[in-house]
Protein backbone atom coordinates (compact mmCIF):
# COMPACT_ATOMS: atom_id res chain seq x y z
CA UNK A 1 0.00 0.00 0.00
CA UNK A 2 1.33 3.42 -0.98
CA UNK A 3 2.67 5.56 1.83
CA UNK A 4 0.85 8.83 2.54
CA UNK A 5 2.38 12.25 2.86
CA UNK A 6 0.68 15.34 4.27
CA UNK A 7 1.88 18.43 2.39
CA UNK A 8 1.16 21.68 4.23
CA UNK A 9 1.70 25.01 2.46
CA UNK A 10 -0.37 28.13 1.92
CA UNK A 11 0.86 28.36 -1.68
CA UNK A 12 -1.38 26.45 -4.05
CA UNK A 13 1.26 26.29 -6.76
CA UNK A 14 3.82 24.91 -4.33
CA UNK A 15 1.41 22.21 -3.11
CA UNK A 16 0.74 21.34 -6.76
CA UNK A 17 4.47 20.87 -7.43
CA UNK A 18 4.97 18.78 -4.28
CA UNK A 19 1.98 16.58 -5.09
CA UNK A 20 3.10 16.20 -8.71
CA UNK A 21 6.62 15.16 -7.67
CA UNK A 22 5.65 12.75 -4.90
CA UNK A 23 2.70 11.14 -6.70
CA UNK A 24 5.01 10.44 -9.64
CA UNK A 25 7.21 8.55 -7.17
CA UNK A 26 4.25 6.46 -6.03
CA UNK A 27 3.21 8.24 -2.84
CA UNK A 28 -0.26 9.39 -1.90
CA UNK A 29 -0.42 13.06 -1.03
CA UNK A 30 -2.92 14.90 1.17
CA UNK A 31 -2.78 18.69 0.89
CA UNK A 32 -3.42 21.26 3.61
CA UNK A 33 -3.58 25.02 3.10
CA UNK A 34 -2.07 26.10 6.43
CA UNK A 35 -1.01 24.78 9.81
CA UNK A 36 -4.52 24.69 11.24
CA UNK A 37 -5.83 22.74 8.24
CA UNK A 38 -2.80 20.47 8.44
CA UNK A 39 -3.40 19.71 12.11
CA UNK A 40 -7.07 18.84 11.48
CA UNK A 41 -6.21 16.58 8.56
CA UNK A 42 -3.40 14.93 10.51
CA UNK A 43 -5.84 14.12 13.31
CA UNK A 44 -8.34 12.67 10.80
CA UNK A 45 -5.80 10.32 9.27
CA UNK A 46 -2.38 9.35 10.57
CA UNK A 47 0.08 9.83 7.71
CA UNK A 48 3.55 8.43 7.12
CA UNK A 49 5.28 11.79 6.70
CA UNK A 50 4.45 15.46 7.18
CA UNK A 51 6.04 18.03 4.89
CA UNK A 52 5.34 21.56 6.05
CA UNK A 53 6.11 25.16 5.18
CA UNK A 54 6.96 27.60 7.99
CA UNK A 55 5.34 30.94 7.17
CA UNK A 56 1.61 30.35 6.90
CA UNK A 57 -1.52 32.14 8.13
CA UNK A 58 -3.60 30.83 11.08
CA UNK A 59 -0.84 28.47 12.27
CA UNK A 60 2.81 28.47 11.22
CA UNK A 61 4.98 25.42 10.66
CA UNK A 62 6.78 25.42 14.00
CA UNK A 63 3.47 25.60 15.87
CA UNK A 64 2.08 22.79 13.72
CA UNK A 65 5.10 20.60 14.51
CA UNK A 66 4.79 21.23 18.25
CA UNK A 67 1.07 20.45 18.09
CA UNK A 68 1.69 17.22 16.19
CA UNK A 69 4.41 16.11 18.59
CA UNK A 70 1.88 16.61 21.37
CA UNK A 71 -0.30 13.89 19.83
CA UNK A 72 0.41 10.27 20.79
CA UNK A 73 -0.04 9.16 17.17
CA UNK A 74 2.57 11.60 15.88
CA UNK A 75 5.43 10.95 18.28
CA UNK A 76 7.37 8.98 15.70
CA UNK A 77 6.01 10.25 12.38
CA UNK A 78 8.79 12.01 10.47
CA UNK A 79 8.22 15.72 9.90
CA UNK A 80 10.22 17.71 7.38
CA UNK A 81 10.17 21.47 6.92
CA UNK A 82 10.04 22.76 3.33
CA UNK A 83 10.55 26.50 3.54
CA UNK A 84 12.31 29.58 2.15
CA UNK A 85 13.92 30.01 5.59
CA UNK A 86 17.55 28.91 5.75
CA UNK A 87 19.03 30.53 8.86
CA UNK A 88 20.75 28.38 11.47
CA UNK A 89 18.52 30.00 14.08
CA UNK A 90 15.33 28.84 12.34
CA UNK A 91 16.74 25.36 11.76
CA UNK A 92 17.59 25.10 15.44
CA UNK A 93 14.02 26.12 16.30
CA UNK A 94 12.69 23.55 13.88
CA UNK A 95 14.83 20.83 15.36
CA UNK A 96 13.83 21.81 18.90
CA UNK A 97 10.15 21.75 17.90
CA UNK A 98 10.52 18.20 16.63
CA UNK A 99 11.33 18.44 12.93
CA UNK A 100 13.45 15.65 11.49
CA UNK A 101 14.83 17.59 8.56
CA UNK A 102 14.99 20.94 6.77
CA UNK A 103 14.56 21.49 3.04
CA UNK A 104 15.11 24.95 1.58
CA UNK A 105 12.91 26.09 -1.30
CA UNK A 106 12.92 25.76 -4.21
CA UNK A 107 13.13 21.97 -4.17
CA UNK A 108 14.30 19.67 -6.93
CA UNK A 109 11.74 16.88 -7.46
CA UNK A 110 14.38 14.17 -7.69
CA UNK A 111 16.13 15.31 -4.50
CA UNK A 112 12.81 15.64 -2.69
CA UNK A 113 11.84 12.12 -3.69
CA UNK A 114 15.24 10.79 -2.61
CA UNK A 115 15.05 12.32 0.85
CA UNK A 116 11.45 11.16 1.34
CA UNK A 117 12.45 7.66 0.28
CA UNK A 118 15.37 7.80 2.70
CA UNK A 119 13.07 8.82 5.55
CA UNK A 120 10.03 6.58 4.99
CA UNK A 121 11.02 4.19 2.23
Amino acid sequence: MAKTILAVDDSGSLRQMVAFSLKAAGYQVIEAVDGQDGLEKAKNQVVDLVLTDQNMPRMDGLTLIKSLRGLATYQRVPILMLTTESSDDMKAKGRAAGANGWLVKPFDPQKLTEVVKKVIG
Binding site: D9, S11, S13, L14, M17, F20, S21, Q54, N55, T83, T84, E85, S86, K91, R95, A99, N100, G101, W102, L103, V104, K105, P106, F107, D108, P109, Q110, K111, V115, K118, V119
Partner: protein, 182 residues
Protein backbone atom coordinates in the same frame (compact mmCIF):
# COMPACT_ATOMS: atom_id res chain seq x y z
CA UNK B 1 12.71 83.20 22.95
CA UNK B 2 10.64 83.21 19.75
CA UNK B 3 7.93 80.64 19.06
CA UNK B 4 9.81 79.56 15.92
CA UNK B 5 13.02 78.96 17.86
CA UNK B 6 11.30 76.89 20.55
CA UNK B 7 9.57 74.54 18.07
CA UNK B 8 12.59 74.20 15.82
CA UNK B 9 14.07 71.11 17.48
CA UNK B 10 10.75 69.23 17.53
CA UNK B 11 9.96 70.05 13.92
CA UNK B 12 13.48 69.10 12.91
CA UNK B 13 13.25 65.79 14.77
CA UNK B 14 9.91 64.97 13.20
CA UNK B 15 10.99 65.80 9.67
CA UNK B 16 14.25 63.93 10.11
CA UNK B 17 12.42 60.90 11.48
CA UNK B 18 9.94 60.84 8.61
CA UNK B 19 12.74 61.17 6.09
CA UNK B 20 15.04 58.55 7.66
CA UNK B 21 12.37 55.93 8.38
CA UNK B 22 10.66 56.57 5.06
CA UNK B 23 13.92 56.15 3.15
CA UNK B 24 14.80 52.97 5.02
CA UNK B 25 11.44 51.39 4.25
CA UNK B 26 11.53 52.48 0.61
CA UNK B 27 15.02 50.96 0.28
CA UNK B 28 13.55 47.66 1.45
CA UNK B 29 10.75 48.04 -1.10
CA UNK B 30 13.33 48.59 -3.84
CA UNK B 31 15.37 45.58 -2.71
CA UNK B 32 12.34 43.29 -2.62
CA UNK B 33 11.14 44.46 -6.03
CA UNK B 34 14.60 44.01 -7.54
CA UNK B 35 14.80 40.49 -6.07
CA UNK B 36 11.32 39.73 -7.43
CA UNK B 37 12.37 40.92 -10.87
CA UNK B 38 15.51 38.75 -10.75
CA UNK B 39 13.56 35.64 -9.78
CA UNK B 40 10.87 36.28 -12.40
CA UNK B 41 13.44 36.86 -15.10
CA UNK B 42 15.30 33.67 -14.29
CA UNK B 43 12.07 31.67 -14.03
CA UNK B 44 10.84 32.76 -17.43
CA UNK B 45 14.23 32.14 -19.04
CA UNK B 46 14.60 28.66 -17.55
CA UNK B 47 10.98 27.70 -18.16
CA UNK B 48 11.32 28.81 -21.75
CA UNK B 49 14.43 26.68 -22.13
CA UNK B 50 12.72 23.69 -20.48
CA UNK B 51 9.72 24.05 -22.77
CA UNK B 52 11.88 24.07 -25.91
CA UNK B 53 14.00 21.19 -24.63
CA UNK B 54 10.89 19.14 -23.81
CA UNK B 55 9.49 19.88 -27.24
CA UNK B 56 12.70 18.67 -28.87
CA UNK B 57 12.80 15.53 -26.74
CA UNK B 58 9.17 14.69 -27.42
CA UNK B 59 9.76 15.20 -31.17
CA UNK B 60 12.72 12.81 -31.04
CA UNK B 61 10.56 10.32 -29.17
CA UNK B 62 7.85 10.58 -31.82
CA UNK B 63 10.40 10.06 -34.60
CA UNK B 64 11.77 7.00 -32.87
CA UNK B 65 8.32 5.54 -32.30
CA UNK B 66 7.38 6.23 -35.95
CA UNK B 67 10.52 4.41 -37.07
CA UNK B 68 9.65 1.42 -34.87
CA UNK B 69 6.06 1.34 -36.16
CA UNK B 70 7.03 1.57 -39.83
CA UNK B 71 9.93 -0.82 -39.62
CA UNK B 72 7.86 -3.39 -37.77
CA UNK B 73 10.59 -4.34 -35.33
CA UNK B 74 12.29 -2.83 -32.29
CA UNK B 75 16.08 -2.65 -32.59
CA UNK B 76 18.08 -2.47 -29.38
CA UNK B 77 19.45 0.87 -30.53
CA UNK B 78 15.90 2.28 -30.63
CA UNK B 79 15.20 0.97 -27.13
CA UNK B 80 18.38 2.64 -25.87
CA UNK B 81 17.52 5.90 -27.59
CA UNK B 82 14.00 5.89 -26.16
CA UNK B 83 15.35 5.26 -22.66
CA UNK B 84 17.78 8.16 -23.05
CA UNK B 85 15.00 10.40 -24.29
CA UNK B 86 12.88 9.45 -21.27
CA UNK B 87 15.75 10.44 -18.96
CA UNK B 88 16.13 13.72 -20.81
CA UNK B 89 12.43 14.45 -20.45
CA UNK B 90 12.56 13.64 -16.75
CA UNK B 91 15.48 16.04 -16.23
CA UNK B 92 13.76 18.87 -18.07
CA UNK B 93 10.56 18.32 -16.10
CA UNK B 94 12.56 18.42 -12.86
CA UNK B 95 14.10 21.73 -13.89
CA UNK B 96 10.68 23.11 -14.83
CA UNK B 97 9.13 22.03 -11.51
CA UNK B 98 11.96 23.73 -9.62
CA UNK B 99 11.45 26.92 -11.63
CA UNK B 100 7.67 26.89 -11.28
CA UNK B 101 8.18 27.49 -7.57
CA UNK B 102 9.04 31.08 -8.47
CA UNK B 103 5.37 31.91 -7.85
CA UNK B 104 5.64 30.96 -4.18
CA UNK B 105 8.87 32.94 -3.65
CA UNK B 106 7.81 36.04 -5.54
CA UNK B 107 4.34 36.15 -4.00
CA UNK B 108 5.97 36.26 -0.54
CA UNK B 109 8.18 39.16 -1.65
CA UNK B 110 5.25 41.01 -3.21
CA UNK B 111 3.12 40.45 -0.11
CA UNK B 112 5.92 41.89 2.02
CA UNK B 113 6.14 44.92 -0.28
CA UNK B 114 2.38 45.51 -0.12
CA UNK B 115 2.35 45.25 3.66
CA UNK B 116 5.19 47.75 3.85
CA UNK B 117 3.35 50.17 1.55
CA UNK B 118 0.29 49.84 3.77
CA UNK B 119 2.48 50.54 6.78
CA UNK B 120 3.91 53.64 5.14
CA UNK B 121 0.39 54.83 4.30
CA UNK B 122 -0.50 54.50 7.99
CA UNK B 123 2.54 56.61 8.86
CA UNK B 124 1.34 59.34 6.53
CA UNK B 125 -2.14 59.05 8.06
CA UNK B 126 -0.61 59.65 11.50
CA UNK B 127 0.97 62.83 10.20
CA UNK B 128 -2.32 63.89 8.65
CA UNK B 129 -4.25 63.24 11.87
CA UNK B 130 -1.63 65.11 13.90
CA UNK B 131 -2.07 68.08 11.61
CA UNK B 132 -5.86 67.97 11.89
CA UNK B 133 -5.72 67.64 15.68
CA UNK B 134 -3.59 70.76 15.97
CA UNK B 135 -5.90 73.72 16.66
CA UNK B 136 -5.04 76.91 14.77
CA UNK B 137 -4.50 78.82 17.98
CA UNK B 138 -2.49 76.16 19.89
CA UNK B 139 -0.03 77.23 22.51
CA UNK B 140 3.63 76.60 21.75
CA UNK B 141 3.95 74.06 24.54
CA UNK B 142 0.94 72.13 23.21
CA UNK B 143 2.38 72.10 19.71
CA UNK B 144 5.76 70.96 21.00
CA UNK B 145 4.08 68.15 22.94
CA UNK B 146 2.07 67.09 19.87
CA UNK B 147 5.19 67.08 17.73
CA UNK B 148 7.09 64.94 20.27
CA UNK B 149 4.15 62.56 20.54
CA UNK B 150 3.89 62.26 16.78
CA UNK B 151 7.62 61.61 16.42
CA UNK B 152 7.50 58.95 19.12
CA UNK B 153 4.47 57.30 17.53
CA UNK B 154 6.11 57.27 14.11
CA UNK B 155 9.29 55.70 15.50
CA UNK B 156 7.28 52.96 17.14
CA UNK B 157 5.26 52.36 13.97
CA UNK B 158 8.44 52.11 11.93
CA UNK B 159 10.00 49.65 14.39
CA UNK B 160 6.80 47.57 14.51
CA UNK B 161 6.70 47.49 10.71
CA UNK B 162 10.31 46.30 10.53
CA UNK B 163 9.62 43.52 13.05
CA UNK B 164 6.46 42.45 11.23
CA UNK B 165 8.23 42.25 7.89
CA UNK B 166 11.15 40.00 8.81
CA UNK B 167 12.72 38.79 5.58
CA UNK B 168 12.04 35.13 4.94
CA UNK B 169 12.96 34.96 1.23
CA UNK B 170 16.66 35.39 0.53
CA UNK B 171 16.77 33.38 -2.68
CA UNK B 172 18.13 35.30 -5.63
CA UNK B 173 18.26 32.32 -7.96
CA UNK B 174 16.06 29.35 -8.69
CA UNK B 175 18.66 26.71 -7.89
CA UNK B 176 17.31 24.02 -5.58
CA UNK B 177 17.95 24.64 -1.90
CA UNK B 178 19.92 22.68 0.69
CA UNK B 179 18.57 19.59 2.37
CA UNK B 180 19.52 18.63 5.91
CA UNK B 181 18.30 15.65 7.91
CA UNK B 182 18.72 16.07 11.67
Amino acid sequence: MSKKKMLGPQVKQLLSGVSDHGSAHLSEVETDLAQTALLLGEAIEKLGFSFMALHTAVSKEHDEIDFVIHSGFVPDASVDRLKNIQLEIEQHINTAVTCLQFQDLTSQLISRTMQRCEGLREVLNVLGVAGEDMPQDSETDDIAFLLRETTSRLEKQSADLKNLLRKAVHQKHLDSGDIELF
